[in-house]
């Protein structure tokens, strides 16, 4: 396998150290999002804690905490010798109503700023869902 191919080859994560959200939480959320979206599939191998920490310029404990929480929730599993992989049955995320409402408000605000009326906005959402 070429060094630039393979599971997770195209998946990147970004951490903003000035963001109020702690870095471990940023990592945790992004990995959950990547698994939920199918960018990472069950069995995909993730980098070691040390590799990811070095690449992000973070302490190993920060990445280790993110991995630990993801393992505890069933998103990842770690086996000695096999590394850390995406869990075979990752939990289905439950939609947080408040977060959904926030996303919808943001979308509507931006769409109206672009000049779209309510009917156009609804049509675009329907298109996106189909």
């Amino acid at each position: 396998m070429s060094p630039v191919d393979g599971p997770g080859a195209g998946a990147d994560i970004a951490v903003d150290v000035f963001d109020p959200t702690p870095p471990y939480e940023q990592i945790r959320r992004q990995i959950v999002a990547l698994v939920s979206s199918g960018a990472l599939v069950p069995g995909d191998r993730l980098p070691t804690v040390r590799q990811l920490a070095n690449d992000l310029g973070l302490a190993t404990g920060t990445v280790a905490r993110a991995y630990r929480e993801l393992e505890a929730a069933g998103w990842l599993h770690t086996r000695r010798g096999a590394g850390t992989r995406v869990g075979s049955t990752p939990p289905r995320p439950t939609a947080d109503p408040a977060a959904l409402r926030q996303l919808a408000d943001e979308f509507v605000r931006r769409a109206r700023f672009l000049g779209a009326d309510d009917t156009t906005i609804l049509n675009r959402v329907t298109d996106a869902l189909s």
Partner: protein, 317 residues
């Protein structure tokens, strides 16, 4: 008869090794000046290790008139190259921008080491251990009590003859210790190659749609990141190849020396026990294979990373 034959086989073997080492060629890739500087730092550590190794090997080679210094010189050179490689990998700085990006591909040692050469080095290491253990078991003390320095054979219960120098404990003991250190250092070096921070363009310094580098042409942030990734991967391959080449240096020259000396002693020994002649023939075959590996190692250690700022290229070392 065995002496000249071994010398000819060694010469042919080294020639084959050097020619085989020259088959890998350069794949140009765009390199930014900043990243080239970072890569050069890795290179300077590695070349510094090689230079220190040459000095240390020359010093060690002077030690012990009975040849142990000469036997240990190449392994010491290999150790210094490994130490330089580790220093170079540790010198790579991590990201410092506010927003840092990382890929989720797990890097593995197997992605970077040249597999055929690694298999040859592993085989040579196993052969070296086998030759050393066999020589230790077969050797006898010489007239001054130096352990395993001669091979003693008996043609009758009353007479025996000793020939040396024989690569028994006197030579193999210190050699195995140094080779063991080399293998430990190689593991540390390969772990450093894989886990050191990825070289990235500082995204904060890249104007949107603009040129992030002074020399790379009109590349946008994504192009710059891709070229940084290509450089990073090429540099890891280069370092991993140097680690394997250093290991080859650690094991190949001692194996060559021990096999050659052992073959010559066995060829001249009288009344060898069963298996002695076969062992001698095996050593005659091992010596040129060790020479091939040594030739490849010398060539691989002298390949530059091929970095040039500006139109730069990254050697697929």
């Amino acid at each position: 008869m065995a002496g000249p034959l071994v010398v000819v086989l060694i010469g042919v073997g080294m020639l084959v090794g050097v020619l085989a080492g020259g088959l890998g060629r350069v794949e140009p890739a765009p390199v930014s000046a900043a990243l080239a500087d970072e890569a050069r730092r890795v290179g300077r550590w590695s070349w510094g290790g090689l230079a220190m190794g040459v000095v240390a090997a020359a010093a060690v080679g002077q030690w012990d008139r009975l040849g142990r210094g000469l036997l240990l010189a190449a392994p010491v050179l290999g150790l210094a190259v490994l130490a330089g490689t580790i220093g170079g990998e540790l010198a790579v700085t991590g990201p410092t921008a506010g927003t840092r990006r990382a890929g989720l591909r797990a890097r593995r040692v197997g992605d970077y080491v040249p597999r055929r050469a690694a298999v040859m080095v592993a085989g040579a290491a196993a052969a070296l251990v086998a030759v050393a253990v066999g020589a230790i078991l077969a050797g006898s003390d010489d007239d001054l009590g130096r352990a395993g320095r001669v091979l003693t054979t008996s043609c009758s219960p009353d007479t025996s003859s000793s020939r040396g120098p024989w690569p028994g404990w006197f030579y193999s003991g210190p050699l195995l210790a140094v080779v063991g250190m080399g293998l430990v250092l190689a593991v540390v070096a390969l772990r450093a190659v894989v886990s050191r921070p990825r070289m990235t363009i500082d995204q904060a310094s890249v104007p949107v749609g603009g040129d992030s580098t002074s020399t790379c042409g009109r590349a946008g942030p994504m192009d710059a990141d891709a070229s940084a990734m290509a450089l990073d991967e090429a540099l890891r391959r280069w370092s991993a190849k140097r680690v394997v080449a250093a290991c080859a240096m650690v094991v190949a020259l001692p194996l060559l020396g021990m096999a050659s000396v052992g073959a010559v002693v066995l060829a001249g020994a009288e009344c060898l026990p069963a298996g002695g002649r076969a062992a001698g023939a095996a050593l005659v075959l091992v010596a040129p294979l060790a020479a091939v590996l040594l030739g490849w190692s010398v060539h691989a250690l002298l390949i530059p990373a091929g970095l040039r700022a500006g139109s730069g290229g990254v050697g697929r070392a």
